[in-house]
Amino acid sequence: MAEQKFAENEVVELVTKIVTSIGTTRGDLIPILQKVTNELGYISQEAIQQISVLLKLPTKEITSVATFYRMLSTKPHGRHIVQFCESAPCHIAGGREVLSALKEALQLEPGETSADNKWTFYTTSCLGICGVGPVILIDTEIHGNVTPDQIPSILGRYE
């Protein structure tokens, strides 16, 4: 995830570039929002404004779509996003214990970002890698067959 802050004119420029590369129809909205999330780290108000101008859509429409999907975000994140799968297969495989160990290690509840802006913690629905549950996804890296005592060493690998 990008962590640097963007100035307003940079946001406008980046969003314009993204929209030009994808298109301006209604069907292009979600791919645009995905790319904005990937490149800016989240979909800021300025970004929504600019998309609204380019796609000729009301900002409330864009916000409504942007807040619907789990992988789109309208809020800034910490440097690393930790996602824990809370679906049944991981739960049965010892996920409950891993979740409490994870909460303890991060000192965060799901949905929170740490004060030093290092971690944002979410619980998520099934990630489709149930064969190796319990599963933790940190940014784009998958950690499978996790046990509670592995948590500190897994987290320790991230700066």
Binding site: T25, S87, L127
Partner: protein, 539 residues
């Protein structure tokens, strides 16, 4: 090529080698020449035989007989009896329970064991998913060529005759769906592949797309020809990055080879295929929500009718099929409906891909004929329970059913399960032992639906929240007997009043919890005990 009468295959995986397969091979070689059989009998090593505890194995074709575990000292007897006199040595046959995977299927052809049969997953793991040439070498795009020599009606008839049913969970007859789209009025039609696989515990479509992306493209082309569509989308869940990359690469290759684009194979068929990555919403696996999402909106299911077959993407007739359903199309076109009907059960022909998870020894992906039982899956493929005894299985992700042990021997096909009042779902099998608490499991399942509910209709939005609150109370030891009535009502309302499948299936775990495990729930309430020791009781 010289013709041989028999073929002898000696397993040569590391375990077999350790147990002397090299010596066995040498013994065969020496004895065959001694009996003057070297010309008629071909001797080879077999590498990929699947797992077996009975190695070293020796397979002899054409009888497809499997011997094992075999000792060097026993080779002369086998050669003399089987290869020289033509009599099968019964006492050295490998025990059925010791065989799995492809080798088990080999034996099953003799009508003994319901074994793995890879139709859908045939190429997965065997071909380079990034090479179109590899796919073509495995008869890839042949089904398309064959379909193009037939009329669209003939193609649809073959699919209808095959009895193929949708593998996404609902089991709708595929041929019928195709004919609806074919008959729908309008010049512009779409074909969509639903690859938004998000049912907890299900990852069969991911494996298919990662391992054999061209299969999906070919199937969509056949579908497009049959229903008269010229544009298609693969809606793949956003988390499946590898599958997404492989699909994009595969589409590019297919375009270069002229399999996608204009006037394909000179038949006049035009087809353009796009990939759309989901943005993280379980509900988008529901077909009308998926369409909304493709149109750039919130993934909220539409009211039906009109059905997508008449009014789908951008209001045009649209065919939506699951990845696994589509993967069945090319083999059906090539081998015919009758061949397909030989697998599975009369009411549900074909195979089904399952993901096996939970408290079992061997987790993973299998493809078996429809109609296999849960007990067979657990004992044969999952190699038994890891610890404890079987208590229940949850089928088909959260959208499936909770299967109690009393239904362990029910054939797993759409009709038998429907009769038993449960659902086959999308193919995940979460096997639970008695350490799993039903209240705790129901809580996790309901919480999933609460999180993933799109919030459009009230029964689902409020019902899942309310059910979770009640279950949480019960698991904390603060439940009341009246709660059970309320759960029953909630389950009924969710099933009867929700707008789409998400809310409707959210009611199922509640219903089944009360149907099959009521005593365990009551123990939480009346006695303040969690029989499996999972829930923390506070009173």
């Amino acid at each position: 090529m010289k013709t041989v009468r028999s073929m002898v295959l000696v397993s040569s995986d590391p375990e077999s080698q350790k147990r002397g397969s090299t010596e066995i091979y040498a013994a065969f070689e020496q004895l065959l020449s001694q009996y003057g059989l070297s010309e008629e009998v071909q001797l080879t090593y077999a590498t990929d035989i699947g797992n077996s505890t009975a190695v070293p194995l020796v397979m002899i074709y054409p009888e497809a007989v499997i011997y094992g575990p075999l000792l060097v000292s026993e080779v002369p007897h086998i050669v003399e009896e089987h290869l020289y006199k033509g009599r099968i040595v019964d006492e050295k046959l490998a025990p059925r329970y010791a065989l799995s995977g492809r080798i088990a299927w080999l034996q099953a052809r003799k009508g003994t064991l319901p074994a793995e049969n890879r139709v859908v997953l045939k190429n997965v793991g065997l071909i380079d998913p990034e090479s179109i040439d590899d796919y073509i070498a495995q008869d890839g795009y042949q089904a398309l060529g064959l379909a193009l020599t037939q009329t669209p009606e003939e193609v649809i008839k073959t699919i209808s005759d095959s009895g193929l049913q949708g593998r996404g969970g609902a089991g709708f007859p595929t041929g019928l769906k195709w004919s609806f789209v074919r008959k729908a009025a309008g010049a512009k039609k779409y074909v969509i592949c639903n690859a938004d696989e998000s049912e907890p515990g299900t990852f069969k479509d991911r494996v298919l797309l990662e391992g054999d992306p061209h299969r999906t493209i070919e199937s969509m082309l056949i579908a497009a020809y049959a229903v008269g569509a010229d544009e298609g989308y693969i809606y793949i869940r956003g988390e499946y990055q590898l599958a997404l990359q492989r699909l994009e690469a595969a589409i590019k290759q297919a375009e270069e080879y002229g399999f996608l684009g204009k006037n394909i194979f000179g038949s006049g068929l035009n087809f353009h295929l796009h990939v759309h990555a989901g943005a993280g919403a379980y509900v988008c696996g529901e077909e009308t929500a998926l369409i909304e999402s493709l149109e750039g909106k919130r993934g909220e299911p539409r009211s039906r009718p009109p059905y997508p077959t008449n009014e789908g993407l951008w209001g045009k007739p649209t065919l939506i099929n699951n990845v696994e359903t589509l993967a069945n199309i090319p083999p059906i076109i090539i081998h015919g409906a009758e061949w397909y009907r030989k697998m599975g059960t009369p009411s549900s022909p074909g195979t089904k891909v399952y993901t096996i998870l939970g408290n079992v020894n061997d987790k993973g992906l299998i493809e078996v004929p429809m109609g296999i039982t849960l007990r067979e899956i657990i004992t044969i493929y999952a190699k038994g329970m890891k610890d404890g005894n079987f208590k229940m299985a949850q089928t088909g992700g959260s959208g499936g059913s909770i299967i109690p042990s009393s239904l362990q021997d029910t054939p797993m096909d759409f009709e038998s399960f429907k009769k038993a009042g449960v659902a086959l779902g999308s193919g995940a099998l979460l096997i639970c032992n008695e350490n799993v608490c039903i209240v705790d499991l129901a809580k996790v399942l309901i919480n999933f639906f609460r999180v993933e509910s799109c919030g459009k209709c009230t029964p689902c939005r409020i019902g899942t929240k309310r059910a979770l609150d009640i279950l949480t109370n019960i698991s904390n030891g603060q439940g009341k007997m009246e709660d059970l009535d309320e759960l029953e009502n909630l389950s009924h309302d969710l099933i009867a009043l929700s707008n789409c499948g998400l809310g409707q299936t959210a009611g199922t775990p509640l219903k089944e919890m009360l149907n099959y495990f009521r005593a365990e729930v009551e123990a939480h309430i009346k006695l303040g005990i969690c029989p499996s020791g999972t829930c923390q009781m506070y009173n």
